[in-house]
């Protein structure tokens, strides 16, 4: 039972179907078999009945034949001789002849009697008696005498007796004619080897006339409708004659056939049923298998599907709906359920995701806000710083502007006196040299010793030699100082943009030199300046602004180098552009801030030391000139700025229309 339960549905279905088939077929076969048995029994009974009818017919025919013969013989004219007592023995001869002619009458005989019942003639020699047997009497008409034994024979017989009418007159009876028929012959007609036969005279009680059944015979077999009977342990099927013979209306033949023999065909039917069952079972089994497959396939599919879904959790799958039956509906419902589940799951996942997103967004927002606040804070701090810087810057700028104006004014004012001084120094040198030469000449003049000595003494007093040496040095030094003053003033003039407003074609190297001159005190001896000027070409530009650019960059470089370093400044011409490189061996600029160095107010210097505007302004100036600045730097090794300027600035064209507001700039 457990095994049965644990079997697959297909197996159970198949087994159930097969069991139903087996039961149905067994019942059907049983019914068919039973019906067949009944039918066969009935048909056997019927055929036995028919058979007995035939037998009875044969008996009747025999009697008919005998009667016909007898009747024919009574019509013989010879029979008239019975009137005369057959004196001529013609009747006797005729009867003998007839017996011969009719095959010895199967053992029977013909007897002719006169009207008084006296035996006149016979087909056989009869010596014992000469009168008609009592059983045959009376003979009013044609009559049949049933089985009997008479004096003519020891054996039982039947007899047909008829009166004979004269041939000349039917009214005139000439005697009787009788024909006998041996019972043994009749039994031969009835009996056969295949059946057990019973000849019965139906009366009350019935008389068994002939039987080849040994033993006692049940009367019911004769009277009743029993169709089955057991004799000596053998079953028989019985059939009774249903017709009546006009000669022997109370005769009935019963035929018995062994049931085994009769039902031999039943075994065949049984075998055929079995065979049919087996043959049917093949397509049935196939059909059942097919059907159970058809029925369980969707189930399997569904089961697999459910298993898959359970194991994989993939709710997007759908069962392939192929049928419209309950399984189809189930599959459909399942699909809907899966769909709902999927929807719910998707919804849930979405919610979770949204929740996560929301959380994340919240966190992010908090972070953002925090960082924004930090940034804002930083910005604010920076802004405050920048404002402070700007304030300082403005103060500085104002200071510088004032200073610039002052310097410009001083430079302007110094320019002339320095010019005088500088211009007078060669004159002075010449004069001094002439004076010295004069002294020498004077000393070498012929004079007295004393004077000479005096002179020498005086010369010695003033230490002329050292004086000579010193004075020239002093002059040279003064000259140099004047020259430097002149230079500084000149630089200050040019730097302080006194000539800024004018677009000029200048030699950039001069500007660079001016700048270096101004920064000379910063450079001093600690920084080696390497100049590599190769441009040697006029560049059209606002020289003052360009000088300011140089100033900013070189100043930054000097500051970056600290105590010692090398400032390398190079110019060259490249593709109709002037390229100025300013390199230092300073601390360099780190990569994370190198992008910001041109931003306004970006500075790495201490407050007050730098405004953060220098490079920004420089960038703006170069850009205004249609050029650009590049910077490359390596922390610890140094920085190199490369300025590209067009030889002929685009500003040149503007010049025509735009009048630089030099006054205003001056005011600033």
């Amino acid at each position: 039972m457990i095994n049965w339960i644990s079997k697959s549905i297909a197996f159970k279905l198949g087994a159930s179907f097969f069991a139903v088939f087996i039961i149905t077929y067994a019942l059907t076969a049983a019914v068919v078999f039973s019906v067949a048995r009944q039918t066969i029994t009935r048909s056997e009974t019927d055929s036995l009945s028919q058979y007995t009818n035939l037998k009875l017919d044969r008996v009747g025919n025999k009697f008919e034949q005998l009667a016909t013969n007898l009747h024919a013989w009574t019509s013989l004219e010879i029979m008239n001789d019975l009137i005369s007592g057959d004196v001529d023995k013609r009747v006797a001869r005729t009867l003998e002849g007839l017996k011969r002619k009719y095959g010895n009458l199967e053992g029977g005989d013909i007897y002719a009697f006169d009207t008084k019942g006296k035996l006149i003639a016979a087909s056989t020699q009869q010596t014992e008696t000469d009168v008609m047997p009592s059983q045959w009497l009376p003979v009013a008409e044609f009559k049949m005498v049933d089985k009997h034994v008479n004096k003519f024979s020891r054996d039982p017989m039947v007899a047909l007796v008829t009166p004979i009418a004269a041939s000349f007159s039917s009214d005139y009876q000439v005697g009787y004619l009788a024909i006998t028929y041996p019972w043994a012959e009749l039994e031969k007609l009835i009996f056969d080897s295949d059946h057990k036969m019973l000849l019965v005279r139906q009366a009350n009680p019935p008389t068994i006339l002939a039987s080849d059944i040994p033993g006692d015979i049940d009367v019911n077999l004769i009277n009743g409708t029993t169709i089955s009977v057991t004799l000596n342990g053998v079953n028989y099927i019985a059939g009774r004659s249903s017709t009546q013979d006009s000669w022997v209306p109370d005769w009935r033949i019963v035929a018995l056939k062994p049931e085994k023999e009769a039902l031999a065909s039943l075994a065949k039917v049984g075998f055929e049923l079995l065979l049919l069952g087996l043959l049917l079972s093949i397509p049935i089994v196939l059909a059942i298998r097919w059907l159970s497959k058809i029925l369980t396939d969707p189930l399997h599919e569904l089961t697999d599907f459910v298993t898959n879904i359970t194991s994989s959790g993939d709710l997007s799958r759908r069962v392939n709906i192929r049928s419209r039956d309950e399984l189809g509906t189930l599959a459909n419902s399942f699909n809907q359920m899966t769909g709902n589940l999927e929807l719910i799951t998707t919804e849930r996942e979405r919610f979770v995701r949204e929740l996560e997103e929301l959380t994340w967004t919240l966190e992010k927002k908090v972070q953002e806000r925090t960082s924004a606040m930090q940034v804002t804070n930083t910005d604010l701090t920076k802004t405050i710083q920048a404002l402070k810087d700007a304030q300082g810057q403005l103060v500085q700028a104002e200071k510088m502007a004032s200073l610039g104006q002052l310097v410009a004014g001083v430079a302007h004012e110094l320019n002339n006196p320095v010019g005088f001084i500088y211009a007078n120094f060669p004159q002075l040198e010449e004069y001094v040299k002439e004076l010295l030469a004069l002294i020498d000449a004077l000393l070498n003049l012929p004079m007295d010793e004393s004077s000479h000595r005096l002179a020498l003494r005086q010369v010695e007093d003033i230490e002329l030699d050292s004086l000579r040496k010193d004075i020239l040095d002093i002059i040279r030094s003064g000259k140099s100082g004047a020259s430097r003053i002149k230079e500084i003033v000149s630089s200050l003039r040019s730097f302080s943009r006194l000539d800024e407003a004018e677009l000029k074609s200048v030699l950039l190297e001069e500007g660079i030199n001016d700048t270096l001159a101004i920064l000379g005190h910063q450079i001093k001896n600690r920084i080696t300046v390497v100049r590599d000027y190769r441009l040697n070409h006029l560049v059209t530009c606002f020289a003052g602004q360009i000088n300011q650019v140089f100033m900013n960059i070189i100043y930054n470089g000097i500051q970056a180098m600290g105590d010692v370093g090398t400032l390398t400044i190079g110019t060259r011409k490249e593709n109709e552009m002037a390229v100025i490189t300013i390199g230092d061996t300073g601390s360099g600029i780190s990569q994370d801030i190198i992008g910001k160095i041109f931003d306004p107010f970006f500075t790495t210097k201490k407050i007050g030391e730098g405004t953060g505007l220098g490079l920004s302004i420089s960038y703006g100036i170069i850009e205004k000139h249609g050029g650009y600045i590049e910077v490359e730097s390596e922390v610890g090794k140094g920085t190199r700025f490369t300025i590209h300027l067009k030889l002929r600035s685009r500003l040149e064209r503007r010049m025509v229309n735009i009048k630089p507001a030099s006054d205003r700039r001056k005011a600033v």
Binding site: N80, D81, G85
Partner: protein, 141 residues
Amino acid sequence: MLKRGKLWVCGLLLLGCGRIWAAEFVIIANPSVPVKALTQEELSDIYLLRTHVWDDGMRIIPVNRESGSNPRSLFSVRVLRQQQSALSAYWDKMHYKGMTPPLVQESDQSVLAFVQKVPGAIGYVSASMQLKNVKVLAEIQ
């Protein structure tokens, strides 16, 4: 019918007359036959199946001898005045017409026994026969 009866009486007389001579055979009849004598014509009518019944309506049953026998040939020639073969043909013809030709008995004894027993029967036997229980209707020479 009555007229006939008169003729028969005449015939009987004639026959009676003939008896004087040595008779060859006699015409016998059952005693029930209601006539005493028959003429040759009447006899001939009976045997040639022209007359079927006696005067009282009883059926006439003529008895003949077997074909080829002497008495029959004599009877044929002398009474019926015809040859046996012609008579046989005639009787066959009459038989097929539904009439019963004269019955045949093969001996005088049987003819006598027959005529004795069968009412209305008429036959001929040798004159030498001892006649008993029959009516002699004529003698034929």
